[in-house]
């Protein structure tokens, strides 16, 4: 058993105060403490990108960060993308372009894509292909994912 730390963290716009074990990863904190199970763990080695979330606006692997380090931080997970009934444009584009099959990698790709759209104006296909190359999808062959992000980048309708 390791020590514990009190943290105050904002997740998807809501503030949480929790006492967490020092070694608890952000991914496990989100999943087990907050029951936000949309953040998936595919490797816990930082290699697959499934657990990608936005930490203060940057796409990071939540399996490689400890929750205890994150007092004052702001985190966005896949659950924070949609507005109740309204899907985020990326979520709609993923459905439309067959960018998912089993859906396990999808939350990580969506958060990576949000960062691409936030950081790059009019990202083209090769930029997008490069930017998502840290996320693994075993089902689709990536084409649908690339097409979906390209579509949203072109429409400029990202938030």
């Amino acid at each position: 058993m390791t020590g514990t730390t009190s943290i105050g963290i904002r997740v998807n716009g809501e503030d949480f105060e929790r006492e967490v074990e020092d070694r608890l990863t952000l991914a496990d904190f989100l999943r087990s403490e907050l029951r936000l199970t949309g953040t998936h763990l595919g490797c816990e080695q930082g290699s697959c990108g499934a657990c990608t979330v936005l930490l203060d606006g940057s796409a990071i692997r939540s399996c490689l960060v400890f929750a205890s380090q994150l007092t004052g931080a702001e985190v966005t997970t896949v659950e924070g993308l949609a507005n109740q009934a309204d899907l985020h444009p990326l979520q709609s584009a993923f459905i439309k372009n067959d960018a998912l099959q089993c859906g396990f990698c999808t939350p990580g790709f969506l958060l990576t894509a949000v960062e691409i759209l936030n950081e790059t104006d009019h990202a083209d296909e090769s930029t997008i292909r490069e930017a998502i190359s840290g996320n693994i999808c075993r089902c689709t062959g990536y084409q649908g994912i690339v097409d979906a992000i390209v579509e949203v980048a072109r429409s400029g309708s990202e938030r």
Binding site: L36, T39, E44, Q101
Partner: protein, 761 residues
Amino acid sequence: MKAEEFVRGQGQYLADLPDQDCLHVAFVRSPHAHARVGEIRAPESSALIAICTGADLLADISPFRVIAPGHLDYDWYPLAHDRVLFVGEPVAAVVAETPYIAEDLAAEVEVEYDPLDAVTTLDESITGGTVLHAELENNVLFNLPVNEGATADTFAAAHLVVEQEFEYPRQNALPLETRGVLARFDPRDQRYTVFTSTQMPHLIRSALSQILNVNEDDIRVIKPDVGGGFGLKGQLFPEEVVLPALARKLGRPLKWIEDRRESLMAGGHAHEERLHLSAAFDADGNLLATKSLLDGDAGAHSTFPFGAGLDPLTGALNIFGAYRHKASEFTARAFATNKAPAVSYRGVGQIQSVFAVERLMDIAADQLKLDPAELRKLNLYENSEFPVTSPGGNEFDTGSYRETLEIALDRADYTGLRREQETAREEGRLYGIGLATFNEVSGVSIFGYDGASIRIGPDGQVRAFISTGSSGQGHEKVYGRLVAEALGISPELVRVIEGDTDFCPVGAGTYASRSMVTTGNLLESAARELRDKILMIGGLLLSPDDLIPMENAANELRIADGVISLVREPTATVTFEAVAQLAHMKNFDFPLPQELVEAGLECTHYEQHKTVYSNSSAVAAVEIDPDTAQFSIRRCVIIGDCGRIFDSSTVDAQLVGGAAMGLGCALFEHLAYDSNGQILTTSLLDYLVPVSTDIPQIEIGHLETPSTFSANGTKGMGEGGTMAMPAVLANAVADALMDKGRLLNKIPLSEENIFQLLQIS
């Protein structure tokens, strides 16, 4: 809609199931490839709730035998009880309040091992100095010779015999979601509920009932959302036994989620095989006879249900399947080694045999001084020849073997590519073109039949229960539409329910590209039967004195968009919902005759489906950089034919996604062991799979030659793209290497392997 759930992060995969009342399990795994297990000492810790060793578990389970045809049986135990046979084999299970603590404690368990010699290669296993299973005489786990001696005369008289040995490496299907189990035991009704990330809930239930010594009905197996399977989740694993057994013993629900290291080490390997092929040709290039020896490295155990022979047998049964020839003999064997047990992985058996056969065809074309395309066209079955019984004994339904090749060649501009190659060669560049064409076993029904059941409720809500389950194939969308179209109603009224043994009909599950062929057909026939009954009831409402017999219902009545009418008087209508209500609830003004009340609005169909054969052809062009031994893919075309296409976007997605996975198989995927049987690839930094920047543009197309063996004309379509890639890329790389390419006989097409070929003087 599943896709919307998934993009919202609302999918419920195994790790996401409610687990507030669960204890957590971690496994102590062997660090040795082969060792005698001595004393096991638990850590002294108040956090340790329980530890269970192989010996402890014997009190609660029966040893299990994998009974598959042609297999040599021996007792299998989920936890090693006297010896460990591979690195990663579970030795003990540790239970604690959290997964973190369980893993801490598992690391503190001390196990005495007495290391033994490890068998790590096929040759060591065949030589048999060390025999792994005491009940067996040698390391042969499976051996099936077919048509022995049947080709000797043809080979002796042939104009040309080509012969070559090929190697295919050990690979891991690597679904992004690892495996996991959550098991509960309810003492009130003495029932187990086992949630598991599987492709085959009913077969898991059958195995568990034998191992746990309880009735099948005392076990409910549930498959939640599954984050990819690709064959890997199509067998019984030790953890699926240990968790329910311990949950009962401890009186607490238990959860275990595999980590990636465990998965790469012990979560199911596949594909490793050596193939020795010979083919006899006449002077014109006609294939006369083939002879094949396929030896699979099965790892330490036969796995349930398919057994150790899965890869070599599947490959051998249909080897050279696309090519017309008169005589074939083959032997499929599987050998035990001190590696993780072999399981299925997309392209089972055939990804290896297609690679080897297609290489051999190119080698033969070279010796016959024929263009590889011409040699193939000469020998591929023509569409008009079907149905065909192959010399290996397979009945092929229909196909467009030669036609897909011609279309692929045309689409890729084969003559243009050859011209480009000429120019490249003049400039000293290593540019190669490869072809691959093959047929694909699909819809295989072994180990059980399949079932589909449709139940329409009093409010007209339709539920379709099936025995196959999705792990990303889009069953909910495809089958929802299929049932709705057959019933003549809106897809919004249909819910597809799968993966729960308490509700779904018994069946073999999802593997071998079989779901659309088996449950797709069954759903359609069950829906049609219910539609006719609904039409009869509707007809009675529209014309109360006139009960139309069922055989005439579809002719005299119509249903479209949920509205029923008489053909002879289309203006009067009644709704599907009104009929559904009338079928369930007695209307005093309008009681139905008993013949229409009976059986309600429920229909269940079962069948054993005949194997159907899809086919595909691929063309690729590559250029090798002689300095780095890397190659780039300049062109890649795949034309598939999976019979009737019901949902084109799903079919496209399977073909493209399958090809991307096949690219990984061709280029990177290789589970490596050292000579002591220590696995070297236990992270995604060592075991590489394709990322977005690795995938070239893959051009696809389809022909639709309906199967005559399936009522709906469909054939399997999940694996053709995968199988195509090692073969077509190997041929392209070999072609680029010219004379040196003749010796290209192994996958992966890694820089290391290509570099070795470049060094040949």
